[in-house]
């Protein structure tokens, strides 16, 4: 069973160093051995979970709960302050569509660079260029500089590159809210298809999507795991909490209006 483990987070914590003044950062780098020039701000604390091969895991939580930081740690972009993360297999992160794209280059050239960033050989990307262009549905714009693209077109191209990266693990951060309804449907279809053989970790506010795609959901609140379980249960509880909060807020507003 343990050989199936693709992602394991063990007591992961992340603290950011908050500096009051710009120069304190440099002071810390030089004199950090003797004195501390920052305050620590914990974004994540003691997060532990395991993901097995082929599992589809969703992450939900309010804005600022630490979801994006968690994904960055799993992708190896930033190091956890505490705990350990172990990832087996090639990861294709879709954290921001089109990060690293160059406006002066054509869609084709950008696709080649995007593929290289994801760790693909040039020949492998070249072999998939047609498929990428077809998936992105941008027609002859594929051979035009990216500055001619609409936002939606650039996002579609970016998604197409990640979709053809031959990854073992797909990590997605809300990237799907871009594009029109038709493309969103296509992304959904792709994710569902990828889900039949690959491992997926997805952060989203789209509870419907999570309910259909994911086996398990992790609910993160204030940097800690609030609840971890089957998609159905966690989403139901999360809904209740959000609705409860909304109701409480409405009540407060009503009272405030009544008293004034």
């Amino acid at each position: 069973m343990s050989s199936d483990l693709v992602i394991s987070c063990d007591g992961v914590g992340k603290a950011f160093q908050l500096y009051m003044r710009r120069n304190d950062q440099l002071k810390q780098a030089i004199f950090g051995h003797w004195k501390q020039f920052y305050r620590q701000h914990w974004v994540l604390r003691d997060v532990s979970f395991k993901v097995h091969r082929g599992e589809k895991v969703g992450i939900i939580g309010r804005n600022g709960a630490g979801k994006t930081t968690l994904l960055q740690i799993i992708c190896g972009i930033t190091r956890p302050t505490q705990g350990n993360v172990n990832v087996v297999g090639r990861v294709a992160p879709i954290l921001a569509l089109g990060a690293g794209f160059d406006l002066e280059l054509t869609g084709r050239e950008n696709a080649l660079i995007g593929g290289a960033i994801l760790g693909m050989r040039r020949a492998a990307v070249e072999a998939r260029l047609d498929a990428i262009a077809a998936f992105a549905e941008i027609g002859d714009f594929f051979y035009q500089p990216l500055k001619m693209y609409s936002t939606g077109m650039a996002a579609r191209l970016a998604f197409a590159v990640c979709a053809h990266a031959d990854a073992d693990i797909l990590i997605i951060d809300e990237a799907l809210s871009v594009g029109d309804a038709a493309f969103a449907a296509k992304c959904d279809a792709f994710i569902k298809e990828f889900a039949t053989q690959g491992t997926i970790l997805v952060v989203s506010h789209d509870l419907e999507l999570l309910a259909t795609v994911c086996d398990r959901v992790i609910w993160i609140e204030d940097g800690a795991v609030r609840k971890l379980g089957t998609a159905e249960h966690v989403i139901a509880d999360y809904r209740k909490s959000v609705e409860g909060r909304a109701a409480a807020k409405a009540l407060l507003l009503k009272r405030a209006a009544a008293s004034s």
Binding site: R79, P93, A99, G100, E104, I113
Partner: protein, 267 residues
């Protein structure tokens, strides 16, 4: 970490480095009508201007008297190719991580490759200037010294030295923007401390020892030796400079990799 680690890393990411270098070169002159001809015009104009200025307006230093104005212009030009290579990286490196902040934070981009791409890009322009230099040298003297074949032995360690400088400045520059401004103020001063417009032989003997602590000056002198004067570089100078360059290369790489995960949080 073994001495080979930086090379293994670069080899591992060779596809990415190649793709980014291609992009940088392709974007550079895109949208201009003359395109790549600008890369040749720049050095050509510079070389012509020096020849004219030093043959008419300004006197030639003692060391260059016997060679004449043409060879003095070539000597300056050689110095400037080397120095411009260094200065482009010194100006650019502190901002490299900020420039690529989006891709570093949002994807699994290996930021250490940025030094390679910046150094290769700068070297491409230096090579074009070098070709212009060779053409002028041929036109003036009708031959190229055979020691030109030794050029790779000087240029490769210089390239590694530049990579080291780039990693070091990238790392420092990520913490504070001041490094970029520091470079803008000290690089021009450094230029006059480097034997570009003069030769090391013009330096008073009691100061020469200290001038050798400037690796860029050493490279200028060694490259002049093999490209212009048909001389072997001084063995001690060569070994010292190359040894120092390798140390800069490895320790800067280690320094950069040690702080690599921290950059993401500060840029």
């Amino acid at each position: 970490m073994t001495p080979l680690t930086p090379f293994e890393n670069a080899w591992h990411y060779r596809e990415l480095i190649r793709a980014v270098v291609r992009r940088e070169l392709a974007v550079r002159f895109r949208g201009s009508i003359l395109g790549w001809l600008w890369a040749i015009f720049g050095p050509l104009v510079m070389l012509s201007a020096y020849t004219v200025i030093f043959s008419n307006a300004v006197g030639v230093p003692a060391s260059a008297k016997q060679g004449g104005v043409g060879s003095y212009a070539l000597s300056i030009f050689t110095g400037l190719i080397v120095f411009n290579l260094f200065s482009e990286l010194a100006y650019r490196s502190p901002g490299l991580l900020h420039e690529h902040a989006a891709v570093i934070k949002k994807s699994i981009f290996p930021s250490e490759t940025l030094a390679w791409t910046a150094a290769i890009r700068a070297s491409v322009y230096a090579l074009i200037s070098l070709a212009v230099l060779f053409v002028f040298e041929l036109a003036l003297t009708f031959w190229l010294p055979p020691t030109c074949l030794l050029l790779p032995f000087v240029v490769v360690p210089f390239f590694l030295f530049l990579l080291g400088i780039s990693w070091f400045l990238m790392a420092l520059g990520s913490f504070t923007r001041d490094v970029a401004y520091l470079m803008i103020s000290i690089v021009p001063v450094f230029m006059f401390a480097t034997p570009i417009f003069y030769s090391i032989e013009d330096v008073p003997p009691h100061l020469r020892f200290y001038v050798h602590f400037n690796p860029i000056g050493n490279y200028v002198e060694m490259i002049r030796d093999v490209v212009l004067f048909n001389r072997f570089p001084d063995a001690l100078l060569y070994l010292g400079t190359v040894g120092g360059s390798l140390l800069v290369f490895f320790f800067s790489y280690r320094f950069f990799m040690q702080y690599k995960a921290v950059f993401v949080d500060v840029i």
